[in-house]
């Protein structure tokens, strides 16, 4: 590797800035980079000013704290999936949920609101944030929930270090509900989803005022228009025929599509690979839960990966975002290569959401979002020992660990009654 001071020089991290930065080196870990470099044994990672400045043997800097990580495994901070972390506290208590805009009217009578961005409702002080963070989840993508709209609104990737302005630049995306769920809102046929979307797109392109029956306000037209210029639109859809239709629709309209759900995506894997359309899926989905996913399979992830489709994992479960590792581990048990499974919860979602240059890998120049594990990070019996976000150590506590500590003492004293 390059001498560390040269790297630091290259990054402008020498001199005064270096002296004040909270530097540390994680020494001797098995480093899973989630990059083309794969896994590096007995490797050091040097962090200065919240950024990874060196990855290799014998990395060090003056005054940098040394963390002995021999026998442990280091990964990038994990992607929690598409969630409502910070947008909800308790799913069943609607007053605590800010992820959904309910119009309470059929889709063709609605004022469509692509300008809605749920990022504005993000609460970094949510009780859920530390619960996920101590398990190694350092970022998530805020996704509006399917209310009764086809266009659900926009969301962004956010870092979970507790800062208020948490959105990661360049990650804003539009979310669209299609398939059987969207059909319910659009009069009963999924064909109407395309009809109505085409109408909205037509309005977005139109110059001047639009007459009666318009789906979009002026702000909505502006918002949607931006996505028609190569913006990222996440389409929630499972059935193979819908996935193809969405991909073609996106291409016709200048949209960069992402498939969310995709339980039947493996059936059209080659076409998705060819069109470079990524899929965000839950690799545990193997039941024909409805007639949009009769072909659901535990091998969905492995088959997509083999065909060259970029995949990321999401359970969509806010409270249980921490289980992304279990999704990845099970995908490995069902044929996905280990490195690809790690990438599906780190670098690939970062690339999909446009933050791959700064997040999702252990590489020089990346934000120091790091997790040190006491074993194989995809194994259910492994736990996080230490977590850093942007180089800052996460206090390994949450409301749950405080509850635990209170009652573990009681049961050990035979007083839990």
């Amino acid at each position: 590797m390059k001498p560390v001071h040269l790297v630091m020089l290259a990054l402008g991290l020498v001199g005064a800035q270096c002296a004040t930065a909270e530097g540390f080196v994680i020494r001797g870990a098995t480093v899973h980079t989630a990059s083309a470099k794969g896994t590096l044994k007995n490797t050091d990672v040097l962090v200065l000013g919240g950024v990874i400045v060196a990855v290799g043997a014998d990395a060090s800097a003056p005054n940098a704290t040394v963390i002995d990580a021999r026998g442990k495994e280091l990964t990038p901070g994990l992607f929690g999936g598409l969630t409502d972390i910070g947008l909800e506290e308790i799913a069943a208590e609607s007053e605590t949920v800010d992820s959904t805009l309910n119009q309470k009217s059929p889709a063709w009578e609605q004022q469509w609101r692509p300008e809605l961005d749920v990022t504005a409702a993000f609460n970094p002080r949510s009780i859920i944030v530390p619960v996920e963070r101590v398990e190694g989840v350092t970022w998530t993508v805020l996704a509006p929930n399917a209310g009764d709209s086809i266009i659900e609104g926009q969301g962004s990737a956010v870092t979970l270090d507790g800062r208020y302005d948490a959105a990661l630049p360049g990650s804003r995306s539009l979310f669209v509900q299609m398939g059987a769920a969207g059909a319910r809102e659009s009069g009963g046929t999924r064909a109407a989803e395309y009809m109505l979307l085409e109408q909205a797109i037509h309005e977005a392109h139109a110059q001047g005022p639009i007459g009666q029956g318009a789906l979009l306000h002026a702000a909505g037209r502006d918002a949607l228009y931006r996505y028609l210029m190569g913006g990222r639109v996440v389409f929630q859809v499972d059935r193979a025929s819908d996935i193809r239709e969405v991909a073609a629709f996106a291409e016709r309209n200048g949209i960069k599509p992402v498939i969310l759900g995709g339980d039947e995506a493996w059936l059209v894997a080659r076409e998705l690979a060819k069109a470079n359309v990524p899929v965000i899926l839950n690799p545990l989905n193997d039941l024909p839960l409805d007639f949009d996913r009769l072909a659901a399979s535990l091998e969905n992830a492995a088959r997509l990966q083999r065909a060259g489709v970029r995949i990321a994992f999401s359970s969509g479960d806010t409270a249980q975002a921490r289980l992304v590792r279990q999704l990845a581990g099970n995908a490995v048990a069902h044929g996905l290569p280990w490195e690809a499974a790690l990438a599906a919860i780190t670098s690939t979602p970062a690339d999909i959401f446009g933050v791959g240059a700064t997040h999702g890998r252990i590489a020089v120049g990346q934000a120091a979002d790091l997790v040190l594990w006491n074993g194989d990070p995809l194994e259910v019996s492994t736990l996080a020992d230490k977590v850093w976000i942007a180089g800052r150590p996460v206090e390994m506590k949450s409301r749950q660990t405080e509850l635990r500590d209170r009652y573990v003492e009681k049961v050990k004293a035979h007083q839990a009654r």
Binding site: Q326, G329, V332, A333, V380, S381, Q400, K412
Partner: protein
């Protein structure tokens, strides 16, 4: 008589309701299949009785475990399975499943889990909603699940009877029904009943309304039982008198043979009592109070569990297990002292207020006191496929706070303890001679995300074999899919 039919007989005698009703009008038609013996060799065996045996053999014959030990001699016709490097456990038992009643696909036509039309529906029986073609049965089998309790949903205070099934393919649920297993009764605490009925502006709409509802139902059942007791007393008196009369008439037979008119008059005096009308709701609750039906109660919060233990004491019934017991860790000692099981997820939390205090150490904490009964359950067609992983997560979190649970103990969360909560611990749940041969062979330590069940035996019959997919049951529902997926 073999043990199975002995148990069945005992059970049917016990279940004889106050009147002369059939013990089980929907009897099991399941029969233990006939197979040659199987010898599993050289495995790491978690027996479920608390032991770990390395390099052990297991001999299965006639549907039962015959012996466990090193270097067992194979019978002449035995199938031999080389299990060196593999792990063997008892079949996994899930005491909280809605397979078949909330089937896949989750369409309206198959939405049969909650009779949410009245808060007390102890008259409904889950088995009458079970769709044996639910594809979820086979995915659960791939996860090593050999027995499950299928319950009605939790919309109601008292939701109805559960059914215990073996995870075998059958056209009817009777073909899956566990012979001789006692019925369970599903009850529910907390938010679900009050939300469902409060939303209809009906009682209960509060937790105090919930408790009033359980108590009134059992008070009604007490009254019902008293009516039957009174009837039975009157019937006994009648029968006695009738017998006395018959005896008398026999004694006088030779002398007063011709006094037919007199006999008719005496018969008239002896009118048999009329039985009370059967009430299927109260009949089930009366059986609960007699200890013939086991209460399985959905209850998240520790304070509500404590309330329900008092309600049970008031009416003289026992709660066998609290299910979804997210806060069981707060009263672990009390539950162990009362001999009540807690069935838990590893880490579900936060989806509703009563699940807000979930901790990942719940299972390990509940397991800690002496005489505890911690159970991993699923309540989910997904979760049931990976109950071993749920246990593994709980073990890891327990370890971190000094509650170490070794694999040979943790496996009891999935096998012996649920068997005990179903009253079937003498028949399944451990690998011991004489027990039913429900056996899972894993490709490694089952407490790993990478572990897969390779072979699953139910009563000695190979029911799932990862290497031979054709053995695996295929739901009728899934037929034709591959044809539809292949274009011309």
């Amino acid at each position: 008589m073999n043990a199975t039919s002995r148990v069945a007989l005992l059970f049917s005698t016990a279940l004889m309701v106050s009147g002369a009703f059939a013990a089980d009008p929907f009897p099991s038609t399941y029969q233990v299949p006939v197979n040659p013996p199987v010898l599993i060799q050289g495995a790491t065996v978690l027996t479920g009785s608390g032991e770990r045996l390395d390099g052990a053999d297991i001999l299965i014959a006639n549907g039962r475990i015959q012996s466990i030990g090193k270097g067992l001699a194979p019978p002449a016709d035995a199938t031999i399975i080389d299990a060196h490097g593999k792990w063997v456990t008892p079949g996994i038992i899930d005491i909280h499943s809605h397979l078949g009643v909330y089937a896949s696909p989750a369409v309206k036509g198959l939405d049969d889990g909650n009779e949410a039309t009245s808060p007390v529906t102890s008259n409904v029986w889950a088995e009458h909603s079970v769709w044996p073609q639910d594809p979820g049965f086979e995915t659960a089998l791939e996860g090593g699940v050999t027995t499950m309790e299928i319950l009605p949903g939790s919309a109601n205070l008292i939701g109805g009877r559960s059914v215990i099934v073996k995870n075998v393919q059958a056209v009817t649920y009777q073909g899956m029904k566990f012979p001789g297993a006692a019925y369970g009764l599903k009850m529910a605490c907390g938010e679900n009943p009050k939300r469902v009925y409060g939303g209809k502006n009906q009682a209960p709409s509060t937790r105090m309304g919930n408790v009033a509802g359980y108590r009134q139902a059992f008070a009604d059942a007490q009254d019902y039982q008293q009516q039957w007791d009174k009837y039975n007393r009157e019937l006994a008196t009648y029968n006695k008198k009738k017998a006395e009369q018959a005896e008398k008439s026999e004694q006088t037979d030779g002398t007063a043979k011709k006094s037919k008119d007199k006999d008719a008059a005496a018969d008239k005096e002896l009118t048999p009592p009329s039985p009370p009308k059967r009430d299927l709701k109260l009949e089930t609750l009366a059986e609960v109070m007699k200890g013939n039906i086991r209460v399985q109660m959905h209850c998240y919060r520790s304070d509500e569990m404590a309330t329900m233990l008092d309600v049970a004491a008031e009416f003289g019934f026992k709660i066998t297990a609290f299910h979804h017991a997210v806060e069981a860790y707060k009263i672990a000692d009390r539950l162990a002292e009362k001999n009540v099981c807690a069935a838990m997820w590893a880490d579900w939390w936060g989806f509703k207020m009563e699940a807000y205090d979930g901790v990942q150490e719940n299972l390990a904490i509940v397991d800690y006191p002496e005489h505890s009964c911690a159970i991993v359950h699923s309540d989910s067609a997904d979760g049931i496929q990976r109950l071993n992983q749920e246990a593994a997560k709980a073990m890891a979190h327990g370890q971190r706070v000094g509650l170490t649970v070794p694999p040979e103990r943790a496996i009891r969360w999935l096998t012996y303890n649920p068997a005990k909560s179903l009253g079937l611990e003498d028949r399944i749940g451990t690998l011991e001679p004489g027990k039913g041969a429900d056996v899972v062979i894993w490709n490694g330590n089952p407490f790993s995300v990478y572990a897969l069940a390779e072979q699953v035996f139910i009563d000695g019959a190979l029911t799932f074999d990862r290497a031979h997919p054709k053995i695996t049951p295929r739901s009728d529902f899934l037929l034709g899919r591959h044809i539809a997926e292949s274009p011309l």
